[in-house]
């Protein structure tokens, strides 16, 4: 059984590009790798031959031919490096372009999770989520990157290179997914004790699916149905939860922790610390510090029946 039952594998490789930018970089990589490999092989051959060749004459002489060869080698180095430089600069230009009609998403790095906010003219159309981005295939998406605590770095290798989220220096990065899929990324700048567990996912879906998803996300939370769920909602509102978490459609409106309105649709808890399963959720609530020591989710004291009701309720938030 894999960590994410509904995920065949984790796609997090720079060598298997699924986005326009990542593809450009991968192409450049092939060029560099090819050329440098050839150079290395040649140098090593020269070295080995130099070691094994038959000797004749006085060891301390400096024949003209050697000067010529060494100078040629030096010259070639310059030429090759220049070629690589040009290739690099062109690729750099290509991946730096910023399209106008891009979908705008604000991504805030926090210790240690990602706050996602889809920009929209009308506030009610904003979508607030955490640790997961859903984007349409073939449409450029521009992420506006902010950090309010320490430096983080956004990196989804399958789609693009890194971009740091630096307090006081807002940046942005544009993604363009070329094929549908789920692309994992994680924070790439050391940001404290849980730097290792600060993952995020990009779901690239067809534009129609994207529209459907967006509509679903905009709706407030699904009202509790079964009495367990109703009880669970009571627990949620009575327990410490609302102080930090929000569930649209209820009184819970905390803003310092992930918005839980559609919690059940997400892949993971604690930015990749745990799978979003019933068991994990229970454990996460009562002892988050075990799965992610140092994270800002406290351990909540709940009676077992409370816990189970709460888990039922949260599990119903699709």
């Amino acid at each position: 059984m894999t960590f994410f039952a509904h995920l065949a594998f984790v796609h997090q490789s720079a060598l298997d590009p699924a986005g326009e930018h990542a593809r450009a970089i991968a192409r450049l990589w092939d060029v560099f790798l090819g050329i440098t490999t050839v150079i290395y092989v040649l140098v090593m051959i020269a070295l080995v031959v130099g070691l094994l060749r038959k000797r004749e004459g006085d060891a301390s002489r400096n024949p003209r031919s050697t000067y010529v060869i060494v100078s040629i080698a030096g010259g070639l180095t310059v030429v090759i490096l220049f070629g690589l430089l040009i290739a690099s600069i062109f690729t750099g230009r290509a991946i730096a372009e910023r399209p106008k009609n891009a979908i705008g998403i604000t991504l805030r790095g926090k210790q240690w999770w990602w706050q996602v906010e889809y920009e929209a003219a009308h506030p009610s159309n904003r979508i607030l989520s955490a640790n997961e981005l859903t984007i349409p295939v073939g449409v450029p998406v521009t992420l506006h990157l902010h950090s309010s605590d320490v430096i983080h770095s956004f990196w989804v290798p399958g789609l693009h290179g890194k971009r740091d989220l630096i307090p006081g220096h807002d940046g942005s990065i544009t993604l363009l997914a070329e094929k549908p899929g789920v692309y994992r990324g994680q924070c790439a700048e050391f940001c404290g004790v849980q730097h290792a567990k600060m993952a995020l996912w990009v779901n690239a879906v067809s534009p129609s699916d994207y529209a459907r998803w967006a509509d679903a996300e905009r709706t407030p939370a699904r009202a509790p149905q079964t009495e367990a769920e109703i009880a669970g909602q009571q627990v949620f509102l009575r327990a410490p939860c609302p102080l930090c978490h929000a569930i649209r459609g209820t009184d819970a409106s905390g803003s310092t922790a992930p918005d839980l309105t559609h919690l059940a649709t997400r892949r993971s808890l604690g930015a990749g610390a745990l799978p979003n399963t019933r068991e994990a959720l229970g454990g996460w609530i009562v002892d988050a510090q075990r799965a992610k020591p140092g994270c800002q989710m406290p351990s909540i004291n709940l009676r077992p029946d409370e816990l189970s009701a709460l888990v039922d309720y949260l599990g119903s938030l699709r």
Binding site: L15, L51, G161, K162
Partner: protein, 624 residues
């Protein structure tokens, strides 16, 4: 006065006096140099153990061997150790021992300052490893980026310890750098004009110069962070006009030259060994020297390539890409020259030369991956991943540690009078070589597969497990190789085969005196008439007479042509350097807690330094 009387008198003049506290009074470059080397290798071993712990932790996903907090302290301290407590100091330490012998002089310039530098370096390591044992070691990485290191996000004293450690080690490194520069420029044997200096000497000159200009930058940075944390300045507080990227500029303006500071001496060692074991001078002396100097200059022009992911203007990025790639040219030229030397020479496969061959095989890879990370687009993918970890270990272990191991093997007989065991030498070489590549080559792939640096654990689904296991196995082999090497050294110190004054039939002056050298290095300073003095009838070479044997007198020569200029008398052993170092250490440690420590500490230090510089008595006075 005949030869024997003169020797006896010199013996008496330069001898380290005995007695309970004599150890703290010694100032001669051989004993300080040996301690320096030994201490540096002790910290190296500690750093190695930390590395092993990290490899164990990463050997399997979701491993609970180390807690996140502990892992952060360990990877931070591993970096700090290798950069501040081993990389730079060990190269300076070797120079402290070898340079005066290679230059044909009786002492290193400013011997007392040298002792002071050593004790500071010693205290630095003790402080930071004590902190680790107390569970309060720095945990923000050796680069200690703000705001993670700022007072708000770095509670406790951990980052302050980092800042003081930087002060300790950089003061020490700067002092030694000045001694090295002065010794090289003013104390060369008569006739060793600037174009006859051995390449190792050139590399140390270049290194010392780089230290003088690079290290102040990090000291400024560390004191800035100290002020922010201790007295509430806002230099790095974005909300009050401070700037967090400022830190990265200051740090990398030091941090990048630091890499060259660490491996340029290695290049010098490689040149020495290559020449001796290929039985011919290194091909293209002038090209080699110019490459070293060019590397030093370019080294200051590419710090920004550590910051590509922060998003800089296109033009700036292109410039720093170009600069970063161009620095591959001088390195390339040197590689070609060594290969040419091997090609033309008569290689003999003894352990020091094997380590040089290992250096060539590894360092070239490091250089080529360096060209990759110099490219902005590639760097956006590779930056802060295990690919970079692999890259700089290929550069630093390949470029500095392998030559160093070769160099220790090479100069060991000069230091101890005994040769290291060659069979064990071969064994240790193959173990370290195989172990190294098995440890670090997979990391290239790991980085491309998306594994970031500085993570204390990872998920099984990421598919990184196999490569990590390989790497951990490699680390085991590498450690084994190191054990064999240092075991060999310790064993040979007592039981090794006795070495004559010149066991390798080498060309430079240190091999013209006995092994180990007498306390006065040379009874008669040699006079140099060629680049390889010992390869051209050394017995006919003229010698220097007339240095007073009853004073610690050295010959000062002119900068360019090394013509004798005047005589200078160095001071006798004293405890002041040690005492001053203790005061400095107490000041810096107290400075963790209150800024006033520096006011009081400086006052105390002034008193001690006065005691240091005050001439002991008119007959044997002098200061350093």
């Amino acid at each position: 006065m005949n030869e024997l009387e003169e020797r006896a008198l010199l013996e008496k003049t330069w001898a380290n006096e005995s007695g309970p506290f004599a150890w703290f009074r010694q100032v001669d470059h051989r004993s300080i140099g040996r301690r320096f080397l030994f201490t540096a290798f002790v910290w190296f071993a500690c750093g190695g153990v930390l590395a092993a712990l990290m490899r164990i932790q990463l050997a399997r996903p979701n491993n609970a061997f180390l807690s996140a907090d502990r892992y952060d302290q360990i990877f931070t301290l591993h970096g700090i150790t290798m950069m501040f407590l081993f990389g730079v100091p060990v190269m300076e330490a070797l120079a402290v021992y070898v340079l005066p012998l290679m230059l044909g002089t009786r002492a290193l310039a400013f011997p007392r300052a040298n002792a002071y530098a050593y004790y500071l370096f010693l205290f630095a390591g003790i402080m930071v490893y004590t902190a680790l044992l107390l569970g309060m070691a720095p945990d923000t990485g050796w680069f200690s980026y703000v705001p993670l290191a700022s007072p708000m996000f770095g509670p406790g004293k951990r980052v302050d310890i980092w800042a003081e450690l930087v002060n300790f080690t950089e003061i020490s490194a700067l002092v030694v750098a000045i001694e090295v520069v002065v010794t090289i420029l003013k104390q060369r044997a008569p006739g060793m004009s600037i174009h006859r200096m051995p390449l190792y000497v050139w590399s140390m000159l270049v290194t010392a110069m780089m230290i003088l200009f690079a290290m102040p930058s990090v000291m400024v940075a560390s004191n800035f962070i100290g002020l922010d944390r201790l007295v509430g300045t806002h230099l790095f507080n974005p909300a009050e006009g401070g700037d967090v990227l400022l830190w990265q500029h200051l740090f990398w303006f030091f941090g990048h030259p630091e890499v060259y500071i660490i491996f340029i001496p290695g290049l010098g060692i490689v040149s020495s060994i290559t020449a001796v074991f290929c039985r011919r001078p290194v091909f293209g002396y002038t090209a080699m020297v110019l490459s070293l100097v060019a590397t030093a200059f370019m080294g200051f022009g590419l710090w920004v390539h550590h910051m590509f992911a922060t998003g800089l203007p296109q033009s700036g990025e292109s410039f720093f890409t170009a600069a970063s790639m161009m620095i591959a040219i001088p390195s390339g030229v040197q590689i070609f020259c060594w290969i040419a030397t091997i090609w033309l020479g008569r290689p003999s496969y003894r352990p020091p030369f094997l380590f040089v061959l290992g250096f060539l095989a590894i360092f070239v890879i490091g250089g080529l991956t360096g060209v990759m990370v110099a490219s902005v687009p590639l760097d956006l993918q590779l930056h802060d991943t295990f690919f970079v970890v692999a890259h700089f270990h290929y550069v630093l272990i390949g470029g500095a540690v392998f030559p160093l191991l070769g160099g220790i093997f090479y100069w060991f007989p000069k230091m101890t009078g005994r040769l290291m065991n060659e069979r064990l030498g071969h064994l240790s070489f193959w173990l370290t070589f195989v172990g190294f590549n098995l440890t670090f080559f997979p990391m290239h792939k790991l980085g491309l597969a998306g594994m970031p640096r500085r993570v204390y654990t990872y998920l099984p689904e990421t598919g990184w497990t196999t490569l990590n296991v390989l790497s951990t196995i490699g680390a085991g082999i590498l450690s084994l190789g190191m054990l064999v090497y240092f075991g060999n050294a310790l064993w040979s110190m007592r039981r090794g085969r006795a070495a004559g004054s010149n066991p390798w039939d080498a060309d430079t002056l240190e091999w013209s005196t006995s092994s180990p050298p007498p306390v006065y290095n040379f009874q008669h300073l040699p006079v140099v008439t060629s680049r390889e003095p010992l390869w051209h009838e050394p017995d006919q070479a003229p010698i220097v007479t007339g240095l007073a044997p009853d004073k610690r007198e050295v010959l000062i020569t002119r900068v360019l042509d090394a013509a004798p200029d005047h005589r200078y008398t160095y001071p006798h052993p004293t405890v002041w350097p040690f005492a001053s170092a203790v005061i400095t250490g107490m000041m810096l440690v107290a400075g963790l807690f209150t800024p006033w420590a520096f006011a009081i500490g400086m006052a105390l230090l002034a008193i001690f330094l006065t005691g240091w510089f005050w001439p002991s008595n008119p007959k044997k006075e002098g200061d350093a």
